[in-house]
Protein backbone atom coordinates (compact mmCIF):
# COMPACT_ATOMS: atom_id res chain seq x y z
CA UNK A 1 0.00 0.00 0.00
CA UNK A 2 1.12 3.55 -0.64
CA UNK A 3 1.44 6.05 2.18
CA UNK A 4 -1.38 8.55 2.00
CA UNK A 5 0.30 10.68 4.66
CA UNK A 6 4.01 10.51 5.48
CA UNK A 7 5.84 12.52 8.14
CA UNK A 8 9.62 12.39 8.12
CA UNK A 9 11.76 13.84 10.90
CA UNK A 10 9.30 16.65 11.68
CA UNK A 11 10.50 19.18 14.25
CA UNK A 12 8.57 22.09 15.72
CA UNK A 13 9.55 24.39 18.56
CA UNK A 14 7.86 27.31 20.26
CA UNK A 15 10.63 29.47 21.64
CA UNK A 16 12.87 27.26 23.77
CA UNK A 17 10.24 24.49 23.98
CA UNK A 18 10.73 21.61 21.54
CA UNK A 19 7.21 20.28 20.96
CA UNK A 20 7.86 17.90 18.06
CA UNK A 21 11.27 16.22 18.09
CA UNK A 22 11.65 14.25 14.90
CA UNK A 23 8.27 12.68 14.16
CA UNK A 24 8.33 9.79 11.68
CA UNK A 25 4.95 8.38 10.80
CA UNK A 26 3.16 6.84 7.83
CA UNK A 27 -0.54 6.37 7.27
CA UNK A 28 -1.51 3.98 4.49
CA UNK A 29 -4.45 4.65 2.18
CA UNK A 30 -7.70 3.64 3.87
CA UNK A 31 -6.00 3.13 7.21
CA UNK A 32 -7.33 4.48 10.51
CA UNK A 33 -4.41 5.73 12.59
CA UNK A 34 -4.98 6.80 16.16
CA UNK A 35 -2.30 8.87 17.88
CA UNK A 36 -2.45 8.66 21.66
CA UNK A 37 -0.49 10.60 24.22
CA UNK A 38 -0.90 12.67 27.33
CA UNK A 39 -1.69 16.37 27.49
CA UNK A 40 1.16 18.46 26.13
CA UNK A 41 2.78 15.56 24.27
CA UNK A 42 2.48 17.38 20.92
CA UNK A 43 -0.56 15.65 19.41
CA UNK A 44 -2.41 18.82 18.43
CA UNK A 45 0.76 20.48 17.11
CA UNK A 46 1.41 17.42 14.94
CA UNK A 47 -2.15 17.49 13.61
CA UNK A 48 -2.02 21.24 12.92
CA UNK A 49 1.29 20.76 11.13
CA UNK A 50 -0.26 18.14 8.82
CA UNK A 51 -3.21 20.46 8.20
CA UNK A 52 -0.88 23.33 7.32
CA UNK A 53 -2.12 25.46 10.23
CA UNK A 54 1.41 25.42 11.67
CA UNK A 55 4.66 25.28 9.74
CA UNK A 56 7.25 22.77 11.01
CA UNK A 57 10.76 24.07 11.65
CA UNK A 58 12.19 21.17 9.65
CA UNK A 59 11.22 17.82 8.20
CA UNK A 60 8.83 16.66 5.53
CA UNK A 61 5.06 16.14 5.48
CA UNK A 62 3.75 14.50 2.33
CA UNK A 63 0.13 13.97 1.45
CA UNK A 64 -0.40 11.78 -1.63
CA UNK A 65 3.36 12.06 -2.20
CA UNK A 66 3.07 15.86 -2.43
CA UNK A 67 5.35 17.83 -0.12
CA UNK A 68 3.21 20.24 1.90
CA UNK A 69 5.82 21.91 4.12
CA UNK A 70 6.47 25.40 2.80
CA UNK A 71 3.41 25.38 0.52
CA UNK A 72 1.38 28.59 0.65
CA UNK A 73 -2.30 28.11 1.49
CA UNK A 74 -3.46 28.63 -2.09
CA UNK A 75 -0.76 26.22 -3.21
CA UNK A 76 -2.31 23.40 -1.24
CA UNK A 77 -5.91 24.06 -2.34
CA UNK A 78 -6.17 20.68 -4.08
CA UNK A 79 -4.94 18.91 -0.94
CA UNK A 80 -7.28 20.88 1.32
CA UNK A 81 -10.22 19.88 -0.86
CA UNK A 82 -9.71 16.21 -0.03
CA UNK A 83 -9.45 16.81 3.72
CA UNK A 84 -12.18 16.85 6.36
CA UNK A 85 -11.59 17.83 9.96
CA UNK A 86 -13.55 17.36 13.16
CA UNK A 87 -12.31 19.80 15.78
CA UNK A 88 -12.26 19.04 19.49
CA UNK A 89 -15.25 21.25 20.30
CA UNK A 90 -16.86 21.08 16.89
CA UNK A 91 -15.72 24.60 15.93
CA UNK A 92 -19.10 25.27 14.33
CA UNK A 93 -19.59 28.82 13.09
CA UNK A 94 -21.83 30.58 15.61
CA UNK A 95 -23.18 33.03 13.07
CA UNK A 96 -24.51 30.36 10.71
CA UNK A 97 -27.37 27.88 11.09
CA UNK A 98 -26.60 24.17 11.17
CA UNK A 99 -27.25 23.58 7.46
CA UNK A 100 -24.88 26.37 6.39
CA UNK A 101 -22.23 24.97 8.71
CA UNK A 102 -22.56 21.48 7.25
CA UNK A 103 -22.62 22.64 3.64
CA UNK A 104 -20.09 25.47 4.20
CA UNK A 105 -17.44 24.20 1.80
CA UNK A 106 -19.96 23.46 -0.95
CA UNK A 107 -21.53 26.92 -0.62
CA UNK A 108 -18.31 28.93 -0.36
CA UNK A 109 -16.01 27.04 -2.68
CA UNK A 110 -18.26 25.25 -5.14
CA UNK A 111 -20.93 27.96 -5.35
CA UNK A 112 -23.68 25.46 -4.59
CA UNK A 113 -27.17 26.98 -4.54
CA UNK A 114 -29.26 27.08 -1.37
CA UNK A 115 -31.62 24.23 -2.21
CA UNK A 116 -28.84 21.82 -3.14
CA UNK A 117 -26.81 22.89 -0.10
CA UNK A 118 -29.75 22.13 2.19
CA UNK A 119 -30.13 18.71 0.55
CA UNK A 120 -26.43 18.08 1.05
CA UNK A 121 -26.74 19.07 4.72
CA UNK A 122 -29.77 16.78 5.19
CA UNK A 123 -27.82 13.88 3.68
CA UNK A 124 -24.72 14.53 5.83
CA UNK A 125 -26.81 14.90 8.99
CA UNK A 126 -28.56 11.62 8.17
CA UNK A 127 -25.17 9.89 8.05
CA UNK A 128 -24.54 10.99 11.63
CA UNK A 129 -28.09 9.99 12.60
CA UNK A 130 -29.44 13.49 13.01
CA UNK A 131 -32.74 14.70 11.60
CA UNK A 132 -33.60 17.57 9.29
CA UNK A 133 -35.32 19.39 12.16
CA UNK A 134 -31.86 20.67 13.19
CA UNK A 135 -31.20 22.40 9.89
CA UNK A 136 -32.23 25.89 10.89
CA UNK A 137 -31.02 25.79 14.48
CA UNK A 138 -28.11 27.90 15.65
CA UNK A 139 -25.07 25.95 16.96
CA UNK A 140 -25.70 27.62 20.33
CA UNK A 141 -28.94 25.62 20.60
CA UNK A 142 -27.15 22.25 20.30
CA UNK A 143 -25.94 19.99 23.10
CA UNK A 144 -22.28 18.91 23.30
CA UNK A 145 -22.98 15.58 21.64
CA UNK A 146 -24.98 17.20 18.84
CA UNK A 147 -22.20 19.73 18.35
CA UNK A 148 -19.77 16.89 17.74
CA UNK A 149 -22.15 15.10 15.39
CA UNK A 150 -22.84 18.25 13.36
CA UNK A 151 -19.07 18.82 13.26
CA UNK A 152 -18.68 15.26 12.00
CA UNK A 153 -21.39 15.87 9.39
CA UNK A 154 -19.47 18.94 8.21
CA UNK A 155 -16.23 16.95 8.07
CA UNK A 156 -17.73 14.23 5.86
CA UNK A 157 -20.16 16.35 3.81
CA UNK A 158 -17.74 16.83 0.94
CA UNK A 159 -16.81 13.11 0.97
CA UNK A 160 -13.13 13.73 1.72
CA UNK A 161 -10.38 11.17 1.17
CA UNK A 162 -8.67 12.06 4.44
CA UNK A 163 -10.41 12.89 7.72
CA UNK A 164 -8.77 14.17 10.89
CA UNK A 165 -10.41 13.84 14.29
CA UNK A 166 -9.13 15.96 17.17
CA UNK A 167 -10.16 14.30 20.43
CA UNK A 168 -13.61 13.39 19.09
CA UNK A 169 -15.01 12.03 22.35
CA UNK A 170 -13.50 14.45 24.88
CA UNK A 171 -16.12 15.84 27.23
CA UNK A 172 -18.85 13.38 26.22
CA UNK A 173 -20.65 10.89 28.44
CA UNK A 174 -19.86 7.17 27.88
CA UNK A 175 -22.99 6.53 25.82
CA UNK A 176 -22.36 9.50 23.54
CA UNK A 177 -18.72 8.44 23.30
CA UNK A 178 -19.87 5.06 21.99
CA UNK A 179 -22.28 6.74 19.57
CA UNK A 180 -19.53 9.00 18.19
CA UNK A 181 -17.08 6.09 17.87
CA UNK A 182 -19.64 4.07 15.91
CA UNK A 183 -20.48 7.03 13.70
CA UNK A 184 -16.81 7.62 12.96
CA UNK A 185 -16.27 3.96 12.16
CA UNK A 186 -19.37 3.78 9.92
CA UNK A 187 -18.71 7.04 8.09
CA UNK A 188 -15.09 6.17 7.46
CA UNK A 189 -15.99 2.71 6.16
CA UNK A 190 -18.68 4.13 3.85
CA UNK A 191 -16.31 6.73 2.44
CA UNK A 192 -13.24 4.50 2.41
CA UNK A 193 -11.32 7.42 3.87
CA UNK A 194 -7.89 7.52 5.46
CA UNK A 195 -8.17 8.88 8.98
CA UNK A 196 -5.93 10.26 11.68
CA UNK A 197 -7.43 10.60 15.14
CA UNK A 198 -5.74 12.09 18.16
CA UNK A 199 -7.14 11.13 21.51
CA UNK A 200 -6.33 9.94 25.01
CA UNK A 201 -9.53 7.94 25.23
CA UNK A 202 -8.63 4.23 25.04
CA UNK A 203 -12.25 3.29 24.30
CA UNK A 204 -11.99 5.26 21.08
CA UNK A 205 -8.64 3.70 20.27
CA UNK A 206 -10.07 0.18 20.49
CA UNK A 207 -13.22 1.15 18.59
CA UNK A 208 -11.78 2.98 15.61
CA UNK A 209 -8.09 2.26 15.12
CA UNK A 210 -6.30 0.00 12.65
CA UNK A 211 -2.97 1.30 13.83
CA UNK A 212 -1.97 3.20 16.97
CA UNK A 213 0.99 5.42 17.71
CA UNK A 214 2.03 6.68 21.13
CA UNK A 215 3.43 10.21 21.22
CA UNK A 216 5.48 11.24 24.22
CA UNK A 217 7.48 14.44 24.56
CA UNK A 218 7.30 15.11 20.85
CA UNK A 219 8.46 11.67 19.71
CA UNK A 220 6.60 8.60 18.48
CA UNK A 221 7.82 6.04 21.00
CA UNK A 222 5.60 3.13 19.99
CA UNK A 223 3.46 2.21 17.01
CA UNK A 224 1.63 -0.93 16.03
CA UNK A 225 -1.74 -2.51 15.28
CA UNK A 226 -4.59 -2.59 17.76
CA UNK A 227 -3.83 -6.28 18.51
CA UNK A 228 -0.19 -5.45 19.19
CA UNK A 229 -1.34 -2.66 21.48
CA UNK A 230 -3.01 -5.06 23.90
CA UNK A 231 -0.12 -7.53 23.96
CA UNK A 232 2.73 -5.04 24.17
CA UNK A 233 5.14 -5.03 27.09
CA UNK A 234 6.31 -1.47 26.38
CA UNK A 235 6.37 0.26 29.78
CA UNK A 236 5.26 3.64 28.40
CA UNK A 237 2.36 2.11 26.47
CA UNK A 238 1.26 -0.06 29.37
CA UNK A 239 1.23 2.87 31.74
CA UNK A 240 -0.81 4.92 29.29
CA UNK A 241 -3.41 2.35 28.24
CA UNK A 242 -3.93 1.18 31.81
CA UNK A 243 -4.10 4.74 33.13
CA UNK A 244 -1.45 4.25 35.81
CA UNK A 245 -0.16 7.21 37.81
CA UNK A 246 3.21 5.55 38.40
CA UNK A 247 5.53 4.59 35.59
CA UNK A 248 7.99 6.04 33.14
CA UNK A 249 5.64 8.74 31.82
CA UNK A 250 5.95 12.04 33.66
CA UNK A 251 2.60 13.35 34.84
CA UNK A 252 2.10 17.09 34.24
CA UNK A 253 5.82 17.75 34.43
CA UNK A 254 6.26 15.85 37.67
CA UNK A 255 8.41 12.73 37.46
CA UNK A 256 6.57 10.09 39.50
CA UNK A 257 9.13 7.38 39.02
CA UNK A 258 12.65 7.02 37.79
CA UNK A 259 12.03 7.37 34.07
CA UNK A 260 14.26 6.42 31.20
CA UNK A 261 14.23 8.71 28.20
CA UNK A 262 11.87 7.60 25.41
CA UNK A 263 14.86 6.72 23.26
CA UNK A 264 16.31 4.51 26.01
CA UNK A 265 13.03 2.75 26.64
CA UNK A 266 12.38 1.59 23.07
Amino acid sequence: MTAKIALTNVHKSFGPKDVLRGINLKVETGQSLVVIGGSGSGKSVMLKSILGLLTPDSGSIKIDSCETVGLARHGRADIDHQIGMLFQNGALFDSLPVWKNVAFRAIQNDGMNEADARDLAVDALKRVELGAELLDLSPAALSGGMHKRVGLARAIASKPEIIFFDEPTTGLDPIMTDVINHLIRNCVQELGATTVTITHDMTSVRAISDKTALLYKGEIIWQGTTDELEGSDDPFLNQFINGLAHGPIEVEGQKLASAPSPAEAV
Binding site: R73, I83, F87, L92, F93, Q108
Partner: protein, 257 residues
Protein backbone atom coordinates in the same frame (compact mmCIF):
# COMPACT_ATOMS: atom_id res chain seq x y z
CA UNK B 1 21.98 44.47 32.61
CA UNK B 2 18.41 43.56 33.54
CA UNK B 3 17.37 47.15 32.83
CA UNK B 4 18.99 47.07 29.37
CA UNK B 5 17.49 43.66 28.69
CA UNK B 6 14.05 45.02 29.58
CA UNK B 7 14.47 47.94 27.19
CA UNK B 8 15.72 45.58 24.49
CA UNK B 9 12.82 43.20 25.03
CA UNK B 10 10.37 46.09 24.82
CA UNK B 11 11.74 47.31 21.49
CA UNK B 12 11.96 43.80 20.08
CA UNK B 13 8.32 43.21 21.02
CA UNK B 14 7.33 46.57 19.57
CA UNK B 15 9.01 45.91 16.22
CA UNK B 16 7.69 42.35 16.08
CA UNK B 17 4.17 43.63 16.70
CA UNK B 18 4.57 46.42 14.11
CA UNK B 19 5.84 43.96 11.53
CA UNK B 20 3.00 41.55 12.20
CA UNK B 21 0.47 44.37 11.90
CA UNK B 22 2.03 45.52 8.61
CA UNK B 23 1.80 41.98 7.20
CA UNK B 24 -1.79 41.72 8.43
CA UNK B 25 -2.74 45.00 6.74
CA UNK B 26 -1.02 43.84 3.52
CA UNK B 27 -2.87 40.52 3.56
CA UNK B 28 -6.15 42.34 4.17
CA UNK B 29 -5.60 44.79 1.31
CA UNK B 30 -4.79 41.87 -0.99
CA UNK B 31 -7.94 40.08 0.18
CA UNK B 32 -10.02 43.22 -0.46
CA UNK B 33 -8.82 43.51 -4.03
CA UNK B 34 -8.88 39.88 -5.18
CA UNK B 35 -12.05 37.84 -5.73
CA UNK B 36 -14.07 36.29 -4.24
CA UNK B 37 -15.60 39.32 -2.53
CA UNK B 38 -18.34 38.41 -0.06
CA UNK B 39 -20.94 41.07 -0.85
CA UNK B 40 -23.59 39.53 1.38
CA UNK B 41 -21.30 39.64 4.40
CA UNK B 42 -20.30 43.22 3.55
CA UNK B 43 -24.01 44.10 3.52
CA UNK B 44 -24.55 42.44 6.90
CA UNK B 45 -21.57 44.30 8.34
CA UNK B 46 -22.81 47.64 6.98
CA UNK B 47 -26.01 47.08 8.95
CA UNK B 48 -24.11 46.08 12.10
CA UNK B 49 -21.41 48.73 11.92
CA UNK B 50 -23.27 51.60 10.28
CA UNK B 51 -26.97 51.34 11.00
CA UNK B 52 -26.66 50.23 14.62
CA UNK B 53 -24.08 52.95 15.37
CA UNK B 54 -26.45 55.71 14.24
CA UNK B 55 -28.08 56.36 17.65
CA UNK B 56 -24.81 56.66 19.56
CA UNK B 57 -23.23 58.88 16.91
CA UNK B 58 -26.35 61.04 16.66
CA UNK B 59 -26.63 61.58 20.41
CA UNK B 60 -22.92 62.30 20.79
CA UNK B 61 -22.87 64.84 18.00
CA UNK B 62 -26.09 66.55 19.11
CA UNK B 63 -24.79 67.21 22.62
CA UNK B 64 -21.32 68.11 21.34
CA UNK B 65 -22.83 70.67 18.95
CA UNK B 66 -24.85 72.14 21.80
CA UNK B 67 -21.88 72.32 24.19
CA UNK B 68 -19.71 73.84 21.47
CA UNK B 69 -22.30 76.57 20.88
CA UNK B 70 -22.32 77.42 24.59
CA UNK B 71 -18.51 77.58 24.79
CA UNK B 72 -18.19 79.74 21.67
CA UNK B 73 -21.01 82.02 22.80
CA UNK B 74 -19.42 82.74 26.17
CA UNK B 75 -15.92 82.87 24.68
CA UNK B 76 -17.04 85.25 21.92
CA UNK B 77 -19.03 87.29 24.42
CA UNK B 78 -15.79 88.67 25.83
CA UNK B 79 -14.98 90.23 22.44
CA UNK B 80 -18.56 91.04 21.41
CA UNK B 81 -18.30 88.29 18.80
CA UNK B 82 -21.31 86.15 19.69
CA UNK B 83 -22.33 86.17 16.04
CA UNK B 84 -19.58 83.73 15.15
CA UNK B 85 -21.32 80.89 17.01
CA UNK B 86 -23.04 79.43 13.96
CA UNK B 87 -19.98 79.51 11.73
CA UNK B 88 -17.54 78.15 14.30
CA UNK B 89 -19.93 75.37 15.34
CA UNK B 90 -20.28 74.37 11.69
CA UNK B 91 -16.54 74.43 11.10
CA UNK B 92 -15.65 72.67 14.32
CA UNK B 93 -18.20 69.94 13.81
CA UNK B 94 -17.53 69.24 10.12
CA UNK B 95 -13.74 69.47 10.20
CA UNK B 96 -12.96 67.87 13.55
CA UNK B 97 -15.57 66.92 16.08
CA UNK B 98 -18.00 65.08 13.80
CA UNK B 99 -15.47 62.62 12.37
CA UNK B 100 -13.24 62.38 15.46
CA UNK B 101 -15.91 61.97 18.12
CA UNK B 102 -17.95 59.77 15.79
CA UNK B 103 -14.83 57.72 15.16
CA UNK B 104 -14.06 57.38 18.86
CA UNK B 105 -17.63 56.35 19.66
CA UNK B 106 -17.67 53.80 16.83
CA UNK B 107 -14.23 52.58 17.92
CA UNK B 108 -15.62 51.86 21.37
CA UNK B 109 -18.62 50.08 19.99
CA UNK B 110 -17.45 48.38 16.80
CA UNK B 111 -13.75 47.69 17.40
CA UNK B 112 -14.62 45.95 20.65
CA UNK B 113 -17.40 43.92 19.04
CA UNK B 114 -15.22 42.83 16.11
CA UNK B 115 -12.29 41.90 18.40
CA UNK B 116 -14.58 39.91 20.70
CA UNK B 117 -16.23 38.08 17.81
CA UNK B 118 -13.06 37.21 15.91
CA UNK B 119 -11.18 36.54 19.16
CA UNK B 120 -13.83 34.05 20.21
CA UNK B 121 -13.62 32.44 16.79
CA UNK B 122 -9.85 32.16 17.23
CA UNK B 123 -9.92 30.53 20.67
CA UNK B 124 -12.74 28.15 19.70
CA UNK B 125 -10.80 27.06 16.57
CA UNK B 126 -13.43 28.46 14.19
CA UNK B 127 -10.71 30.33 12.27
CA UNK B 128 -8.73 27.09 11.92
CA UNK B 129 -11.94 25.44 10.75
CA UNK B 130 -12.39 28.13 8.09
CA UNK B 131 -8.87 27.49 6.84
CA UNK B 132 -9.35 23.72 6.67
CA UNK B 133 -12.59 24.33 4.76
CA UNK B 134 -10.51 26.08 2.08
CA UNK B 135 -11.75 29.56 3.01
CA UNK B 136 -9.30 32.40 3.51
CA UNK B 137 -10.10 34.06 6.89
CA UNK B 138 -8.77 37.39 5.61
CA UNK B 139 -11.29 37.33 2.78
CA UNK B 140 -14.19 35.91 4.75
CA UNK B 141 -13.79 37.66 8.10
CA UNK B 142 -11.46 40.64 7.85
CA UNK B 143 -11.99 42.20 4.41
CA UNK B 144 -15.82 42.50 4.67
CA UNK B 145 -15.57 44.24 8.05
CA UNK B 146 -12.86 46.64 6.87
CA UNK B 147 -14.76 47.46 3.65
CA UNK B 148 -18.02 47.97 5.57
CA UNK B 149 -16.43 50.22 8.21
CA UNK B 150 -14.61 52.27 5.57
CA UNK B 151 -17.90 52.81 3.72
CA UNK B 152 -19.99 53.45 6.84
CA UNK B 153 -17.82 55.93 8.71
CA UNK B 154 -18.13 58.79 6.17
CA UNK B 155 -21.91 58.33 6.19
CA UNK B 156 -21.93 58.35 10.00
CA UNK B 157 -19.70 61.43 9.97
CA UNK B 158 -22.11 63.19 7.62
CA UNK B 159 -24.97 62.35 9.97
CA UNK B 160 -22.84 63.59 12.89
CA UNK B 161 -22.17 66.84 10.99
CA UNK B 162 -25.86 67.50 10.36
CA UNK B 163 -27.00 66.59 13.87
CA UNK B 164 -24.08 68.38 15.52
CA UNK B 165 -24.85 71.60 13.63
CA UNK B 166 -28.48 71.09 14.55
CA UNK B 167 -27.48 70.76 18.22
CA UNK B 168 -25.68 74.11 17.98
CA UNK B 169 -28.71 75.58 16.23
CA UNK B 170 -31.09 74.43 18.98
CA UNK B 171 -28.90 75.89 21.74
CA UNK B 172 -28.19 79.07 19.78
CA UNK B 173 -31.82 79.81 18.97
CA UNK B 174 -33.44 78.52 22.17
CA UNK B 175 -30.91 79.58 24.82
CA UNK B 176 -29.22 82.61 23.31
CA UNK B 177 -32.03 83.99 21.20
CA UNK B 178 -30.38 83.87 17.79
CA UNK B 179 -32.68 84.34 14.84
CA UNK B 180 -33.16 80.94 13.25
CA UNK B 181 -33.05 82.15 9.64
CA UNK B 182 -29.91 84.21 10.21
CA UNK B 183 -28.25 81.33 12.07
CA UNK B 184 -28.88 78.98 9.16
CA UNK B 185 -27.84 81.58 6.59
CA UNK B 186 -24.52 82.21 8.37
CA UNK B 187 -23.87 78.51 8.63
CA UNK B 188 -24.44 78.02 4.90
CA UNK B 189 -22.42 81.07 3.94
CA UNK B 190 -19.42 80.15 6.05
CA UNK B 191 -19.26 76.43 5.41
CA UNK B 192 -17.31 75.31 2.34
CA UNK B 193 -17.47 72.01 0.50
CA UNK B 194 -13.85 71.36 1.47
CA UNK B 195 -14.73 71.59 5.15
CA UNK B 196 -17.21 68.75 4.79
CA UNK B 197 -15.19 66.58 2.41
CA UNK B 198 -12.04 66.80 4.55
CA UNK B 199 -14.06 65.46 7.47
CA UNK B 200 -15.48 62.66 5.35
CA UNK B 201 -12.03 61.66 4.09
CA UNK B 202 -10.83 61.53 7.69
CA UNK B 203 -13.86 59.45 8.64
CA UNK B 204 -13.12 56.88 5.92
CA UNK B 205 -9.58 56.48 7.27
CA UNK B 206 -10.94 56.18 10.81
CA UNK B 207 -13.33 53.45 9.63
CA UNK B 208 -10.41 51.53 8.16
CA UNK B 209 -8.47 51.90 11.44
CA UNK B 210 -11.43 50.87 13.61
CA UNK B 211 -12.13 47.65 11.72
CA UNK B 212 -8.47 46.83 11.22
CA UNK B 213 -7.66 47.15 14.94
CA UNK B 214 -10.68 45.06 15.89
CA UNK B 215 -9.81 42.34 13.39
CA UNK B 216 -6.07 42.34 14.12
CA UNK B 217 -6.43 42.11 17.89
CA UNK B 218 -9.15 39.47 17.64
CA UNK B 219 -7.26 37.43 15.05
CA UNK B 220 -4.16 37.13 17.22
CA UNK B 221 -5.93 36.71 20.56
CA UNK B 222 -4.99 33.70 22.64
CA UNK B 223 -5.51 32.37 26.12
CA UNK B 224 -9.25 31.75 26.30
CA UNK B 225 -11.76 34.22 27.71
CA UNK B 226 -9.06 36.33 29.34
CA UNK B 227 -7.24 36.61 26.02
CA UNK B 228 -10.42 37.69 24.24
CA UNK B 229 -11.01 40.33 26.94
CA UNK B 230 -7.46 41.59 26.49
CA UNK B 231 -7.91 41.70 22.71
CA UNK B 232 -11.10 43.71 23.09
CA UNK B 233 -9.42 46.27 25.33
CA UNK B 234 -6.38 46.51 23.07
CA UNK B 235 -8.61 46.98 20.02
CA UNK B 236 -10.44 49.95 21.53
CA UNK B 237 -7.31 51.57 22.96
CA UNK B 238 -5.20 51.13 19.83
CA UNK B 239 -8.03 52.25 17.52
CA UNK B 240 -8.65 55.37 19.64
CA UNK B 241 -4.98 56.35 19.76
CA UNK B 242 -4.52 55.74 16.04
CA UNK B 243 -7.64 57.78 15.24
CA UNK B 244 -6.26 60.76 17.16
CA UNK B 245 -2.80 60.38 15.63
CA UNK B 246 -4.21 59.96 12.11
CA UNK B 247 -6.45 62.96 12.68
CA UNK B 248 -3.46 65.12 13.50
CA UNK B 249 -1.52 63.90 10.46
CA UNK B 250 -4.45 64.34 8.08
CA UNK B 251 -5.31 67.77 9.47
CA UNK B 252 -1.71 68.81 8.87
CA UNK B 253 -1.81 67.46 5.32
CA UNK B 254 -5.29 68.67 4.35
CA UNK B 255 -5.07 72.18 5.77
CA UNK B 256 -1.43 73.02 5.19
CA UNK B 257 -1.86 72.71 1.42
Amino acid sequence: MTFLATIGAFFLAFFAQSGRLAVFVGQTLAAMLRPPIYFRIIGQQIIRIGYFSLPVVALTSFFTGGALAIQIYYGGNQFNSEAIVSSIVALGITRELGPVLGGLMVAGRVSAAIAAEIGTMRVTEQIDALTTLSTNPHKYLVAPRVIAATICMPVLALVADIIGIFGGFVVGTQSFGFNAAIYVQRTINFLGVDDVTSGLIKAAVFGFIIAMMGCYNGYYSKGGAQGVGRATTNAVVSASILILAANYLMTSLLFSA
